[in-house]
Symmetry: C2
Subunit: 368 residues, 2 copies
């Protein structure tokens, strides 16, 4: 264990799939793990207790958002992100680069970093690898991410090569600027070019990162191509360190990525889709606003143990709340969806430990 | 106790203030009581458990809203309002008249009832005393309200007299249309004309209502004039029945109305103001969005035991959530405000039983 209190141990493997334990200053996190997204310091609509009840022991905070509002100094002054949001477990923060590129206005990229204007007030900011580490240090997350360059899915190979090279240079600068009390993950880029991905994984693997992430997936490419690349690249990420697939995905995506050897995930899908009225179930998505649920007394999923389903809220009531614009339904569907993700990674882990991950996997991937 | 399972008993008096017990099919309700407003079948942002934790044992549902969406038949099909919204305690429904007049379009009043067009889709509806009872019967509330005519504060005396006369005619028709399993309250009108109020209270007191309400207050008149009228009228409402002051008010208004002999209240103030970022405290309102709270680590109210204050959420965090548009803060402030109202009526009751309501009252009404 390093000065950051961070460690990773694999406790079982089944094929390429791994069951492990992340150790953080704020307690252990069993892997595979799904990190609910708490963009602005809140997993939208839920209290920390409710998030933890879904099984989550680590949440993701967005550096870009928190840096601009309320400001990293404010969060730091109030004891860091975990204390600020009353989340007693671990946090991971992204570098801010992805949002600086996708949300901000008039952004430009140089060897130094990103210059961009805030989407909130137009104020000008410079995000360098060092600044990303400084801001994440103020946020006090357990795991910080290096600043990287994430090319779009349609980028030509030479742009992807340039992004990889820039990301490697920033990787070294990020590690030079790291705080001893924070784990830092490197980010492997390379798009769908598996030769670039493999070379980048090797390059970053030689540096002192505490974990390795795959960035630049789920950016618009056909999902089958992502899984093909994952099957080739994920097993080649250093086995001794945790592997994190950024921004992915559906339950089926998680199952397939776990099969490829991924340990950590984050995605807005369960929370965002809940707020759009979509409940995710083992039998596929259920759009609660549909007229066919108008007098349906059944819960979203009879077999589900979440506070929404176990609480006896009928589809008819949930539909009414959604159509009427009532906030309660957004909470209940968010709990339901995160419960499903929490159960998925918990059962995936159990099946890896039991050596029957393949059977578990079929249960999720085959149509019923 | 009648076939509706409804009864009221006064257990202590202190001056005009009363401590009592409402008995309903869904359990006892201690009075004075505050009924959180669940307009569309949800006390906005909260679960039933969270509402009950504030001390509430009865909530109000709006007949107008539920009638139009999802429809009284839908709610009836799903077991009535309590079952529909998973609220195991008592419910009271208004008659729909107030909203039919204030929200709906092109409404006209005749001796038969209100004709209006829905604010949702323009569909035409006729709300008669009998229809109001039928709809509330489908909603299955423990207490139904008669259809009444509520004139605006500025109405000339002859309009108020006409409203009183119409309300009395509708009172008789409502009682003729009542279901045996539902309590029904009559509504005393008369504006600020205390002679009209007193006469109307006598008229309605001769009918077989289970309780008597004061309507037509808090409709724009100076608040001191309301309290003056209340002091004269409330003590003259039949002592054997519960007295309900509709749509009032601030904590100070509740304390003064309890002193005048009121037992039941409802108001959107604590829930609506919460959603506008206002926490109500013993020391006055606190607007959480103010810049002065930016790095304020204190809870909303150190002395408060609600999930927001006891949960350790700082003013700085709540302010951040509000400015960032996060739903969690609406929940937390709603809990805080309803907690304060719940505690106010609980402590008012304790002080009436102990015979020191005057001291309790001063604690709330005198500036600190």
């Amino acid at each position: 264990m390093s000065a950051s209190g961070f460690a990773f141990e694999t406790v079982a493997v089944d094929g390429e799939a791994r069951a492990g334990v992340l150790t953080t200053r704020r307690g252990p996190v069993l892997t595979p793990t799904f990190m609910p997204v708490g963009t602005q310091g809140s997993v939208k609509t839920l209290t920390p207790d409710e998030v933890a009840a879904t099984g989550a022991r680590i949440v993701l905070g967005n550096t870009y958002h928190l840096w601009l509002r309320p400001g990293a100094e404010v969060v730091g002054e109030l004891g860091g992100l975990s204390a600020f949001m009353r989340w007693p477990h671990a946090t991971l923060t992204d570098s801010g680069g992805y949002q600086a590129f996708s949300l901000a206005e008039r952004r430009t990229l140089s060897d130094d970093g990103f210059v961009f204007r805030s989407h909130l007030d137009g104020s000008k900011h410079l995000l360098t690898p060092e600044e990303a580490m400084r801001v994440q240090g103020l946020l006090g997350s357990d795991i910080a991410m290096q600043l990287d360059v994430c090319p779009p899915a349609a980028a030509p190979r030479e742009d992807v090569e340039a992004a990889v090279a820039q990301t490697t240079r920033w990787a070294r600068r990020s590690l030079a600027a790291r705080r001893p009390d924070q784990a830092v993950f490197g980010i492997v880029q390379g798009g769908l070019h598996t030769d670039l991905r493999r070379r980048h994984a090797e390059e970053l693997g030689e540096l002192g990162f505490d974990g390795l992430a795959l960035g630049g997936f789920s950016v618009g490419e056909p999902i089958e191509q992502m899984h093909e690349a994952l099957r080739e690249v994920a097993p080649r990420l250093d086995r001794a360190r945790p592997r994190y697939l950024m921004g992915v995905g559906t339950p089926g995506d998680l199952v397939r990525a776990i099969a490829a050897g991924i340990d950590m995930f984050d995605c807005v899908l369960p929370t965002r889709n809940a707020r759009n009225g979509q409940a995710i179930t083992r039998n596929g998505p259920l759009s609660i606003k549909q007229a066919k649920y108008k007098i349906d007394a059944a819960p979203v999923d009879e077999a589900c143990g979440c506070p929404c389903c176990r609480g006896g809220y009928s589809r008819a009531y949930l539909r009414h709340l959604f159509v009427a614009g009532e906030i309660l339904v957004l909470r209940l569907l968010t709990q339901h969806n995160l419960w499903l993700y929490g159960e998925l990674v918990r059962k995936a882990r159990e099946s890896i430990v039991a050596g029957d991950f393949a059977a578990f996997s079929r249960g999720w991937l085959e149509p019923r």
